[in-house]
Amino acid sequence: MTVPRSGRRVADRTPRQVAGGTVAAAVLVAVAVVAVLLTGSAAPDDDRSGGTEGVLVDHALDGCLRADPPRGTRTSVVTGAAPVRGLGSGGSIRFGEPGELAGAEERTPARGELVVPDPGRGETADVLAVEATGELAAGLFTFRSDTGDGTAAVARCDSPRAQWWFTGAAATLTHTSELVVANLDPGAAVVDVRVLGPEGEVETLGTRGITVPPLSSTVLELTELAPQGEDLAVNVVASRGRVVAGLSDSYAPEFGSEPGTEWLPDQASASRVVRLAGLPRRADEHVLVVANPSGREALVAVEVSGESGSFTPTDVAQVRVPPGAVVSTPVTEAVPGGAAAVTLRSPVPVTATVRSTAGGDTSYAGSVRALAGPAVAAVPDRLRSSVQLTGGEQGGTAGIVAYDAAGAQVGATTLRLDPGATNAWSPAGRAAYVVVEPREGRVHGAVAYAGDAGLSQVSLRPVLVRVTRPAVRPVVAQSAS
């Protein structure tokens, strides 16, 4: 019955020792596995400052360019600070020729109230600079409109920047364009101008390293740069300084007829998805012009967003654009009547426009982006304005408020947009400008103008209230790599 003690002791001890070591090894391996799997889950520790916080814009500068408008054209410039909840009317707005801006009279309009520069100033000055400081700089917008006999042109007066694209220019007998480059800054700017044509990039002389003296402008005739060029795209890149560029276009549907003038809408850069909005509700002809600045051929898929939804036109489902070339394709049949927009998708970045002709005037649908916040567009008198908004794939909703020149609200609506559908709203006659605010989904759009004088279009200008200051970090040393 009794087991010898010594034998039992030996039998007990050995397995226990082994078990201890094995358990320890197993625990270590288990902890190691857990630690390996948890690697990277610790919160990153970053000491960069800034980056996301937006700072209130307290200085803004817009430049309105002057071309040679046909006689009898009436030019008007309107500027103001868009109504923004919580922002007052501190600061001031000045305008004048760039060199005389410092001594110009300071205007202190209320927020939302439009200021019209002295009649005539916009006509005589080569460039009209509009500068806002203080609170009024937040949400500053400036538009110009030229209305004359049978022609109408409305354009945004934008802030200076480094890169501009214009598509749809030409240098033929019936269709001519001139490029205006203005430098509103106190230092000289240097710009390179590239011209793309149907056969590829046009070899131009003297368009590289053009110096634009401080506070002045330069005009380049495309007939000199690319004679006989049809369907051109023009790229302006400031290698030094910032410029405001504009391309004034004069198009006569037939030889000998009175040409209609228009400011070509600009595009900041070539893009793989180009949304063209603001097509006139009725037109005789729509021509899609696509430029491919890349070195690869672009197969551009075309999608049209009509009032009932989006579709791919069967005859122009795809446009093939050789590298560096500009291709124009009639899309009159594809674009339905009423509010419409065109979306292009391409594997390589492209720039594009849709040229619409009605009567003797033309209009160019410019590239727009989905609205990230409130955007504004002018509603000149003498023209019927139609705010055309297109919904994204999920559809969307946007509120539109119309204001008169004194900043009083004169109309408002909410547009519900089905997926891919374009909808339009026309403000009341007293309206001087509209503010569009996206509420749901992705919304993009423009304002199309039509009247006795002609057609025009302008894309909505985002109301810039805050800018993201880049994350800035002091370092004591930087790598040499």
Binding site: G21, V36, V475, A477, S479
Partner: protein, 932 residues
């Protein structure tokens, strides 16, 4: 002429029989023998009375000094011979045995030189009997007893010349009784030590000659001097000797030189005490200081002593100067000491390595070696060893491959790129940056320089201030040198050469180390070099070693850990975690050494520690030496952690270390080595846990290196004797599995070698010109520091980085001087405004920060460039490089907006660091055996 031998004894029963035999065997015996015993507690009195008779033995109190005992003995001789009779007294100690003819030779010399009043024999060491102790003595200006002999010099008659000396030892001193009485005998203020020199000096000043007679030999134990005999009078013999020396110098020196002596001895004693502390002899240093204070706090004794000597002196002090040691002698001794220490260190290292070799070779000497064999060269030559040793062959191969691997980065320019900044022109710049409290970089910085600049400065200075050479050596030789360290460590741990060799090569070629070199990660590179030595010293922290060894290991480990922490701060966190785990897992009796190891590091890195503990957040702990170079870090996944591959850029392929991982896992399966493998695995797991806790936006190189090293250590430990184990057991699953693991493990270093030889240093580390801004800007800044350049890099999306560049631009070490971001808030905001909407007043503010140029290296941010182009007050300038932009400020730059230097505690903290490092180094040094 009569001779009285006077023998003073105190607990000398060990030597007395031989002394009395020697006395009895004298060829010219003394007329009388008197013995005085000063309270012996052993059999001394009995021995004396047995041999000399009761009458001849006098007893004095235990506290009576040597001089008093001699005086007592002489007082017994009142019935001396008539006045014209010359009476000699022959003084003997109970530990000094005269040769049979000693007295005869002394008396012969006395007869030949009648003017000599004091004569002394040649004393030789007892019991060796061959080594010389003294042939007359003198004293140096610092109070050192000078014999003019080498330590342990054999007596071959090389000094046998009767000559005048300052003094002779009292053991065997033959002195004329009348002279002795005239001089008042020995000074009672010198109880035991130093009375011979003092007496001789006094005799010389009284116009007497002292001769040393080499033909007469006395064998002397020097029992009191060597501390063999302790009496209430000797106390601490070192202290008493030093005190006697100071007293002797002060009372016998000339009055004119007394102030000089006072100052010199005071300062000299303090220096000696400090030096003794440095060689870990705190007790001797204490004795030195106590002796100094005891002498200087009793000026009355000095005054009395001087008055007494003035009474007996007949010749001026300069008359005895030729008998004193030359003034340069102390400096010669100092030089000798330094040389001795250096050669001892070298010698010790040589002995250790040859001992290791003989252990490895199995040549255990078990018996007497034949004389012929002793004559053979016992060590092989370097060449022969290199050719025959596989270890030497492997490391030779590694060095060659290091040069092959570095082929891409040889040539002109400086190593830089990735996280590495170019080295400064001179290593002295590192000293400057490290020591100064206010740095003229950027907008000025009071940030304490990182601690790694100190070792860089020291090492760079040793390389003749060639900072670039140090950086080159570190980066280009890291593989063989790290492997060598790993080999030494693994040899210690495994005790087997081939596993150690495998582990060493695998360690040198782990992908993370290659990645560190390619990315210019100085911190990880230095840590890789130090890690094996750190681990080596930490081995001795375990409770199985003697306490003294553990303590020394603790300090040594603390120094290594401080060095690694200086380059890679997280090493300290890891070490603290490991110490905690070790204490919990393996409780030892005394935790103090381990705790001290971890706790000492913050003190050793002092000025920086104050900053790092005073700053919230973990960032300073995560930053390594060098730039963060975050853009070089890729996303790191679990496999990257397992395979030790912290980056995508520059690292070796991960599969190279797959064999190591496999072997480390398999190491856990072997039972007999598991107890030694588990500690390595614990290090591995703690390393992985720390990796998991660290955000992945920082460089993980060091932690993964530790993890890999621990894996290698585990594998090498289990790998020792694996061949025997596999072949020794019956066939089963172990054989094929074991063979597979071994094969995979062997493949790792081989694949690493091949990859490294093919790929080499591929960058971003590269050798390139240093200039990063246009030369004219650098020149302007060099001419006037206020003409700095604001360099803005990056783009708006990823964020902008800026710095204000002055002088030579950023060099290795400047990366540590980042002031707190809040200190630069204003300038940061200003740069933010420049990048968003620049206004003319911003440019004017910029000029007051001492900025004359703004430079945006390629690719310059378009918006920033546009902004700066558009603002007045800035004119475009030549940027030289395509894609870069540059502007010149119109306004004359000034330093109005720059902060001014503030008061800093840094000098005090640096002093504390110096003390801490010295103390740690002293305590880490091997214990010093006190030799006399």
């Amino acid at each position: 002429m009569t001779v009285t031998a006077l023998l003073v004894s105190h607990d000398g029963a060990r030597w007395l029989p031989a002394v009395l035999d020697g006395l009895q065997a004298q060829t010219r015996p003394p007329e009388r023998v008197v013995a005085v015993d000063t309270g012996s507690t052993d059999a001394s009195v009995d021995l004396l009375t047995d041999r000399l008779g009761t009458d001849a033995v006098l007893r004095a109190g235990t506290t009576s000094s040597y001089g008093a005992a001699v005086r007592l003995g002489l007082d017994q001789l009142v019935d001396g011979p008539p006045a014209d009779h010359v009476e000699w007294v022959w003084l003997l100690h109970d530990d000094s045995a005269p040769a049979p003819d000693a007295l005869e030779r002394l008396l012969e010399a006395a007869a030949q030189a009648p003017s000599a009043s004091v004569l002394g024999p040649k004393t030789r060491e007892w019991p060796s009997l061959r080594r010389l102790l003294e042939l007359g003595v003198t004293i140096s200006g610092t109070g050192r007893r000078e014999t003019g002999l080498e330590r342990g010099e054999y007596d071959q008659g090389q000094h046998d010349r009767t000559r005048d000396v300052l003094a002779v030892n009292t053991a065997g001193m033959l002195v004329r009784r009348d002279v002795f009485d005239q001089l008042g005998g020995f000074d009672p203020r010198l109880p035991v030590f130093g009375n011979d020199i003092d007496f001789g000096w006094r005799a010389a000043r009284a116009g007497h000659r002292t001769l040393v007679v080499p033909d007469a030999v006395v064998f002397h134990v020097e029992a009191a001097h060597r501390g063999v005999r302790r009496t209430p009078l000797t106390g601490s013999h070192r202290r008493s000797e030093r005190r006697a020396a100071l007293y002797t110098l002060l009372v016998n020196g000339s009055l004119v030189a007394l102030p000089f002596h006072l100052v010199r001895l005071f300062l000299g004693s303090l220096v000696r005490a400090a030096g003794l502390l440095l060689v870990r002899a705190p007790r001797e240093a204490y004795d030195e200081v106590v002796a100094l204070l005891a002498t200087y706090l009793r000026p009355d004794r000095v005054v009395t002593g001087r008055l007494e000597r003035r009474r007996t002196a007949t010749v001026p002090p300069r008359a005895v100067r030729h008998l004193l040691a030359p003034p340069w002698l102390p400096y010669r001794h100092g030089l000798d000491f330094v040389t001795d220490v250096a050669s001892a260190v070298g010698h010790q290292a040589g002995e250790l390595s040859s001992a290791r070799r003989s252990r490895r070779g199995g040549t255990l000497e078990t018996g007497p070696v034949p004389a012929e064999a002793q004559n053979l060269p016992d060590d092989q030559g370097l060449i022969a060893r290199l050719l025959t040793s596989p270890t030497a062959a492997v490391f030779g191969l590694l060095v060659v491959l290091a040069l092959v691997g570095a082929r891409g980065v040889l040539g002109a320019g400086q190593l830089s790129g990735g996280a590495l900044l170019p080295a400064p022109g001179s290593a002295l710049a590192w000293w400057e940056v490290y020591l100064e409290s206010w740095h003229e970089v950027g907008v000025g910085s009071a940030a304490p320089a990182a601690p790694y600049l100190l070792p860089l400065a020291v090492a760079g200075t040793l390389l003749l201030a060639k900072a670039w050479l140090l950086v080159d050596l570190l980066f280009l030789l890291v593989v063989p040198v790290a492997a060598f360290g790993g080999y030494r460590f693994l040899l210690r741990v495994t005790g087997a050469r081939f596993p150690a060799l495998w582990g060493a090569v695998a360690y040198g070629l782990v992908p993370v180390l290659a990645g560190s070199v390619n990315q210019g990660r100085l911190g990880t590179v230095v840590a890789a070099l130090c890690l094996p030595w750190l681990a080596h010293s930490a081995l001795f922290l375990s409770g199985s070693h003697p306490t003294d060894r553990r303590w020394r290991a603790a300090w040594r480990t603390a120094l290594w850990l401080a060095l690694v922490t200086a380059f890679v701060p997280i090493a300290w966190v890891l070490a603290a975690a490991l110490a905690l785990v070790a204490l919990v897992a393996r409780p030892v009796r005394n935790h103090a050494p381990t705790a001290v190891t971890v706790a000492a590091v913050p003190v050793l890195l002092l000025p920086w520690t104050v900053q790092i503990f005073g700053r919230p957040g973990g960032l300073p702990w995560l930053a390594e030496a060098g730039l963060p170079a975050v853009d070089l870090l890729g996303r790191i996944g679990p496999w990257d952690v397992v395979l030790g591959r912290p980056v995508q850029i520059g690292a070796a392929p991960g599969w190279i270390s797959a064999g190591i991982v496999l072997a480390a896992l398999a190491a856990l399966l072997r039972r007999d080595t598991r107890s030694r493998v588990l500690p390595a695995w614990t290090v591995l797991v703690v390393g992985l846990v720390v990796v998991a806790l660290v955000p992945e936006t920082v460089w993980l190189g060091f932690l993964l290196l530790v993890v890999q090293a621990a894996g290698i250590c585990a594998a090498a430990t289990a790998g020792s004797g694996v061949g025997a184990m596999i072949s020794g057991t019956s066939f089963g699953w172990r054989q094929p599995v074991g063979l597979l693991v071994v094969a995979a493990a062997l493949l790792s270093p081989v694949a690493g070698l091949v990859w490294w030889a093919m790929e080499g240093v591929s960058g971003p580390l590269d050798r390139r010109p240093v200039q990063t801004v246009p030369t004219y800007m650098a020149e302007a800044a060099r001419a006037d520091p206020d003409h700095g350049t604001l360099v803005v890099r990056g783009d708006r999306r990823a964020g902008l980085e800026y710095l204000v560049r002055r002088g030579d631009g950023q060099r290795l070490g400047d990366d540590t001087l980042a002031p707190a971001p809040e200190a630069q808030r204003e300038l940061t905001d200003l740069v933010g405004r420049l990048a968003t909407a620049a206004q003319p007043e911003d440019i004017e503010t910029l000029s007051r920060y001492g900025v004359a140029y703004v430079y945006a290296p390629p690719p310059a941010d378009v918006v920033l460039s546009g902004n700066l182009d558009s603002v007045s007050g800035l004119a475009p300038a030549s940027a030289v490089r395509p894609g870069a932009r540059a502007w010149q400020l119109d306004a004359e730059p000034s330093d109005d907006a720059l902060p001014s230097p503030a008061e800093s505690l840094r000098p005090w903290l640096l002093a504390a660091q110096l003390v801490a490092v010295v103390v740690a180094a002293v305590l880490a040094a091997p214990s010093r055996r006190v030799r006399r």
